[in-house]
Subunit: 231 residues, 2 copies
């Protein structure tokens, strides 16, 4: 990875045309040739960039550009599309390069999938007598996270989120509406299960007769680890 701190201007053409006026920025050139132009604020999104696969070439500085103070021109051309990023370097304040090697990448621990797995394995969290029918129960509009039956044999549809917000309740509502039209399933009780449920989401869910269940991820994981150890 090469990191250049420089006064620079840039121009991008591709899905849109845009330009960056002259200012001091951090330019990151990754091993795969991709380029990121960062300012000293804002979000994780660069001001301008080129995604791989792409090729960086140093282009000649025209006389006109040299007069404007340009010392170097980089052209980053995407290999498959006509996206192109041109960077005019006016003054390089720092230019360093480091060997980083391959990154093992981010490992997500608490995703919905894992919560689903844990809840499926401990379905009685929903209440005594509950039994799992199946995970990812398919409906015409998508899969319901968990389909279960309560102690009395009635269907229970569970929507799982890490953070329970209104859109999760809406999603479950759509599933319930559809499933309750199926005489083999109806009546279907809705359960909104999450590690954290926003007050607005809770109000909406309960207003619609959907039960809210808070999931304790650490406790659930601990129980599984414990049962693993017992077997």
């Amino acid at each position: 990875m090469r990191v250049v701190i420089a006064r620079c201007a840039a121009r991008y053409t591709g899905r849109l045309s845009a330009h960056l006026p002259l200012a001091t920025r951090a330019i990151m050139v990754k091993a795969d040739g991709s380029v990121l132009l960062h300012s000293d604020g804002g979000s994780y999104k660069p001001l301008n960039w080129m995604s791989p696969p792409c090729t960086l070439r140093s282009s000649s500085v025209t006389e006109e550009a040299a007069e404007r103070g340009v010392t170097e021109v980089w052209v980053v051309q995407h290999d498959k599309t006509d996206d192109r990023l041109e960077i005019e370097l006016h003054e390089v304040l720092s230019d360093t390069e480091h060997e980083l090697g391959v990154d093992p990448g981010l490992i997500k621990d608490g995703v919905e999938a894992h919560l689903q797995e844990l809840l499926a394995a401990q379905i009685t969290i929903l209440g005594d007598g509950h039994t799992l029918v199946r995970r990812e129960y398919m409906t015409a509009i998508g899969p319901v996270d968990i389909l279960a039956k309560d102690g009395g044999g009635a269907s229970v549809a569970v929507e799982i989120k890490r953070r329970g917000e209104i859109d999760g309740v809406e999603q479950l509502t759509r599933y319930l509406e559809l499933m309750n039209r199926d005489p083999l399933l109806a009546p279907v009780q809705g359960v909104f299960a999450a590690q954290e449920i926003k007050p607005q989401a809770r109000v909406l869910a309960e207003d619609r007769g959907i039960r809210c269940v808070l999931l304790d991820y650490e406790a659930m994981k601990g129980d599984i680890d414990l049962s693993d150890r017992l077997f």
Copy 2:
């Protein structure tokens, strides 16, 4: 902006829990306190990050951590949520800081809105005798980019894209279907206008009786500049 190249591991908790195993990475600390952890590949998105407003604190290294080779621990805590990023530094290979100043930011030239503006101002690009009815003509399912009338007074609905692909044709098709049910508008002719039209999109559009018009952005802009100069 501070750029640190270091062997490090990280852990994020917030909307999800995730961790990064030990590896060499580039750590960017921006003036507003936000932190980006970049690997030497992938896209502009960091492996892990903390968005502003947030605060970076150096935390004490526990004895246990020191034994694992940790020399420094950074805790980046979001100021408004419970999002938190912890970075364990094992070996700092480089640590530099530069004053970048405020960035003027990216200026976009060729967005769809601008194309719409230009086409509205030069509506005869669609053909002699065409007149503009209005931009952003509202329908029940959303706004049509441009509604015009042709030389014979028949309605023309225009969908504008920078790059014309199939989903744009689908979008226009939905509008046309709806508008053709309105006796005050029908019959409505569809025009798919874009700087670039993908072959598949062109075939689909023409199969549905939708006319394709290529827009020359530079020429359109030039004409406006020219007319500006004349007035």
